[in-house]
Amino acid sequence: MRLALEAIGVVIDGSSILDHVSVDVGAGERLALLGPSGSGKSTALRVAAGLQRPTAGRVLLDGADVTRVPPHRRGIGLVFQDAALFPHRDVAGNVGFGPRVAHLPQAERDARVAEALDLVGLAGTERRDVTTLSGGEAQRVALARALAPRPGVLLLDEPLGALDGPLRQRLQDDLRELFERLALTVVHVTHDVGEAFALGDRVAVLRDGRVAQVATPEELWARPADDWVARFLGMANVFADGDRARVIRPEAVRVVGGEGAVVVAADRDAAVVRLRVREDGGRELEAVVVGVDVPRVGERVAIDVDPGGVVDVRVWRPEMQRRG
């Protein structure tokens, strides 16, 4: 099922939360809504689900206007950040809730519950009390609950936000595999760049209630729309000059033996080491290297920038948005 938000505006208590937000998610496509907190990404999700009535714009499902259709008739699944399981029902009662209110026959309901629990790797947990579940298990049950009515579109609001460490990585891998298997249309809200890149075919970057850029992860990394997006994605080598900025992607900065610069920091994250290098002219650059034989802090090095990794972008200023 195809989902489109058309020029959505949301004003709550006089302040604008979303302004002219348009995104188009094709059938079977996975879109990540990425933005810092307060950027309006969760509100956009609530508009898609029908939990928030937009003050402007339309929501389309397969081309049909559903802006005024209440959430229970939209056939959209939503997974809340902290699961929001019904405390008075067991796992089967939660997962089977959708089929139940749709008045499916009992046998069909049981089959849907078993199937959904199997999908999320929790087969056989039907009779568990939801208040005894761990954070990861609760999130999986919430996912199974959203999948059981077989929604055309699945929305996820920071589904990994309450988890951390290896648990988070595992659920992220499982989610990706599941989405691919079910060929579901998915909109996934996150503030984590890595999560957005891992789970989104395309990523929509939200900033102050507006779409800053929509692109595939590769395009985003190759050509961020402006200096703000580049920095938000984690790029440190952004040098503004008037209305334009030069972005040097870290992997384009090659650090070799020689003279002209000094290593001031080296942070290892597994196989990758992030280096900060100060040129004798005073400019600091970030570079990434892999392996174990890497320069150390204080070591003199030479820097070679690959011109293919340098992008010229415009400089974003908040007042640009207000004027527009």
Binding site: R73, G75, G77, F80, V101, T131, T132
Partner: protein
């Protein structure tokens, strides 16, 4: 269609406010207004009853009211703190049972508490200041254990660990950390206990005898025995002012208590010497709390020099103390309480919905009947509904109406947290899964609220069963409730009458215990783990 539905739900929301407000206006504001009018206006002209207010008897009564409330509060704090400490800080077998048992005195009707002390204490002090103070401590210790204990348990244990690593000795930690941290909870508990003791009615009426009177009992004395309504109303004015001041202070303290209670603290198993201390405190407190009810049961079975069920079988026979056979009182009580519970729920449920959706003003208004004492309500009803437009004086309905008013704050207080706990996201999750608004109500809200509703109904029923202060003003002589019948029996000499009072107390205690047990169980099971 959508707009139609929205208009309907707006009308529903308005009704949720209008019904409780109208109920409070007619059955609370009007009676209190009637007391004011009676005390301040004579024959249409303003008349401040200065003579009554400056009278030396009034001064003595007011002084005793203040004195006994203050002393009772201090004693209750001292008696309750050790148990609050043990229950807040430690985990041990049977803790939840003990927590429930501590509440028992608080749900016992005041008349039963007073009678239990008549049964317990030797004859020469059974009607004395000491009896009054002890009964107040027994009755209110649960408030200290619950209010202070819950706050104490919620305090982050790591604060003490932090203080210890910073070099504070155990004594310094108590002085510089425990005391200031607990201060708001102590003040809050103290203000609640003070209010209860200040407005105490049944205990003083029964244990104070003719010698000790508080404002409350003196109002009853003047209005119901001497028929001096002017003096009674003037005393009522004084009482209202005092209670209003106390409520204001306690409200302020309550706000200062604020959050704080969120975190579930780290209760741990007692170790070493703590084990002895906890055991002594718990066993000792429970033993002392068990004594009065045990004495009551024993006395109800005491016939002459032996034991038997004679006092219970005598309840079936007519007696000169009442216009009817005592067992009628049990029927009357059940009947009135059922009606009162129905009224309290009918008003309390919409009120709770309105309060939960953010109407703070209504919240305060609904708590007022709790502050204004039951006897004041009874007296106000007497004045307000004596003649048209609303003449309820001879209608039996007046009793459940007054009882419902007394029970209303309990209903609202037990429903509001549950309503707030029905998370907006629960409803949203259900809606996204395809549940219609009706299905959300049936499948999500109702199951989540069923237990709190049972608790509210149980509380309302128990409160109405034991209600004495308002009922004694209003009930017709041929329609006594159990507490009123007990009071009448105790007012007459002779072993038969005392025995009948004891037997009726045991019956009432059993009824209240049954109701409390059912609702406390629902409460425990309904609590999310």
């Amino acid at each position: 269609m959508d707009r139609h539905r929205r208009a309907l739900s707006a009308a529903g929301r308005a009704a949720a406010v209008v019904l409780p407000v109208a109920f409070l206006a007619v059955f609370f504001a009007w009676p209190l207004g009637a007391i004011l009018a009676r005390s301040l206006v004579v024959d249409g002209r303003p008349d401040v009853p200065l003579d009554v207010l400056t009278d030396s008897t009034t001064r003595d009564v007011a002084w005793f009211t203040l004195w006994q409330a203050t002393v009772s509060t201090v004693l209750t704090l001292l008696a309750g703190l050790p148990l609050a400490w043990a229950l807040a800080r430690f985990r041990f077998p049977g803790r939840s049972v003990i927590e429930a048992l501590v509440l028992v005195p608080f749900v016992l009707p005041t008349v039963v508490v007073a009678t239990a002390f008549v049964a317990l204490l030797p004859d020469d002090i059974e009607r004395s200041v000491w009896a009054i103070l002890l009964a107040h401590v027994f009755f209110n210790v649960a408030v200290v254990v619950r209010v202070v204990g819950a706050f104490w348990a919620g305090l982050d244990q790591r604060l003490w660990d932090a203080a210890a690593t910073l070099g504070a000795s155990p004594a310094e930690r108590q002085l510089r950390l425990t005391a200031p941290l607990l201060a708001p909870a102590l003040a809050s508990a103290a203000s609640i206990v003070f209010l209860f003791c200040f407005t105490s009615f049944g205990v003083i009426l029964i244990l104070g005898g003719p010698r000790y009177a508080t404002l409350e009992t003196e109002i009853y004395n003047q209005a119901a025995r001497l028929f001096d309504l002017r003096t009674a109303a003037a005393l009522g004015l004084l009482q209202l002012a005092a209670v209003a001041a106390a409520v204001l202070v306690s409200g302020r303290l309550e706000r200062r208590l604020g959050g704080g209670r969120r975190r579930s603290g780290a209760a741990r198993r007692p170790a070493g010497g703590e084990r002895v201390a906890v055991a002594v405190v718990v066993v000792g407190s429970l033993g002392l709390l068990a004594l009065p009810p045990l004495a009551l049961v024993l006395r109800s079975l005491q016939v002459g020099t032996g034991y038997g069920l004679d006092h219970f079988t005598a309840l079936a026979h007519e007696t000169p103390a009442l216009f009817v056979a005592p067992w009628h009182a049990i029927l009357n009580s059940l009947l009135f309480s059922t009606a009162a519970t129905a009224i309290a729920l009918a008003v309390g449920i919409p009120a709770a919905v309105a309060v939960a959706s953010g109407r703070r003003g209504l919240d305060v208004a609904l708590m007022l009947p709790l502050g204004a004492s039951a006897a004041m309500l009874g007296f106000g009803f007497l004045l307000a509904f004596d003649d048209p437009p609303l003449d309820l004086r001879s209608s039996p309905a007046i009793v459940p109406l007054a009882q419902a008013l007394v029970a209303l704050p309990f209903v609202v207080r037990s429903l509001v947290p549950a309503l707030r706990a029905v998370d907006a996201r629960m409803r949203e999750a259900a809606a996204v899964l395809g549940a219609t608004p009706a299905q959300v109500r049936r499948e999500i809200e109702l199951p989540l609220l069923a237990r709190p509703l049972a608790v509210a109904a149980g509380l309302a029923f128990a409160v109405s069963l034991g209600e004495f202060g308002a009922t004694v003003f209003l009930v017709r002589a041929d329609w006594p409730t159990v507490p009123v019948a007990i009071f009448r029996f105790l007012g007459r000499p002779g072993e038969g009458n005392v025995g009948a009072a004891m037997a009726l107390c045991v019956v009432l205690m059993a009824l209240v215990a049954a109701v409390a047990l059912v609702s406390e169980r629902a409460l425990v099971r309904g609590r999310p783990r």
